[in-house]
């Protein structure tokens, strides 16, 4: 089946963002296709490149990067939320004259049309919030 995920949880606010990443990996392992993972509202902060966690806590960016780089999953940050939370790619950083991009290159910034498209074409849409 084709899965789309909607992630509203920030990696800093509990475990739900990492549960979403683990869900995506498990869906792939069960032979499903995970086409698109859409990050909205506080969820866009999963794309942050500057986060530094203490040694004894596992990295919360790597699971997403692996899904994109090893399994070709699209990681899309909603542009309206990305701007609001300061999650800028090269283009947006340039447009708003900020010193550098603030997101990891495995993430792309795009419009809500991508969520609507994913939501209405996927067999399963699973939302992760809180």
């Amino acid at each position: 089946m084709i899965y789309s995920l909607l992630v509203l949880s920030s990696p800093a606010s509990g475990q739900c963002a990492m549960t979403a990443a683990r869900f995506a990996r498990a869906a792939l392992a069960r032979g499903h296709t995970v086409g698109r993972i859409f990050f909205l509202d506080a969820g866009v902060t999963n794309g942050a490149a500057a986060t530094v966690l203490p040694q004894d806590e596992t990295d919360r960016l790597q699971p997403w990067v692996e899904l994109a780089e090893r399994h070709g999953v699209e990681l899309i940050l909603c542009i309206a939320s990305a701007l609001r939370y300061g999650m800028l790619d090269e283009t947006e950083a340039g447009r708003y004259e900020k010193p550098a991009a603030t997101i990891h290159p495995a993430f792309t910034v795009s419009g809500l049309g991508q969520l609507v498209d994913a939501a209405t074409s996927a067999d399963r849409l699973v939302t992760f919030g809180g």
């Binding site: 509203l8 509990g14 939302t127 992760f128 809180g130």
Partner: protein, 96 residues
């Protein structure tokens, strides 16, 4: 026939709103702080048992909370089980 996922404590508005919507034939998967609602002998657990939905909770979150030994009667599933549930239930609704 909906898969509800609850990621908020039994004291939250999300728990009360979710409870109002649960129907027999639905399944409720407790995630994150939602797992505390499965604590045996608590008011929250009694309300969940009364509504007739199938009750599951995610192992990693229950282990972190330290409640695995106190949730008798609820199904403890792992992330793979969560995917299996989503295969069975075409509709999922997130409460948080």
């Amino acid at each position: 026939m909906t898969l509800h996922t609850l990621n908020a404590s039994p004291a939250s508005a999300a728990f009360a709103d979710c409870l109002a919507m649960l129907a027999a034939g639905d399944v409720l998967l407790l995630l994150g702080d939602g797992v505390y609602a499965a604590l045996a002998g608590t008011g929250a657990r009694a309300q969940l048992d009364a509504c007739g939905a199938r009750l599951c909770l995610l192992r990693e979150d229950a282990a972190a909370a330290g409640i695995l030994a106190r949730v008798a009667g609820a199904e403890v599933i792992d992330i793979d089980g969560f995917v299996a549930l989503s295969e069975q239930f075409p509709r999922q609704l997130a409460w948080y």
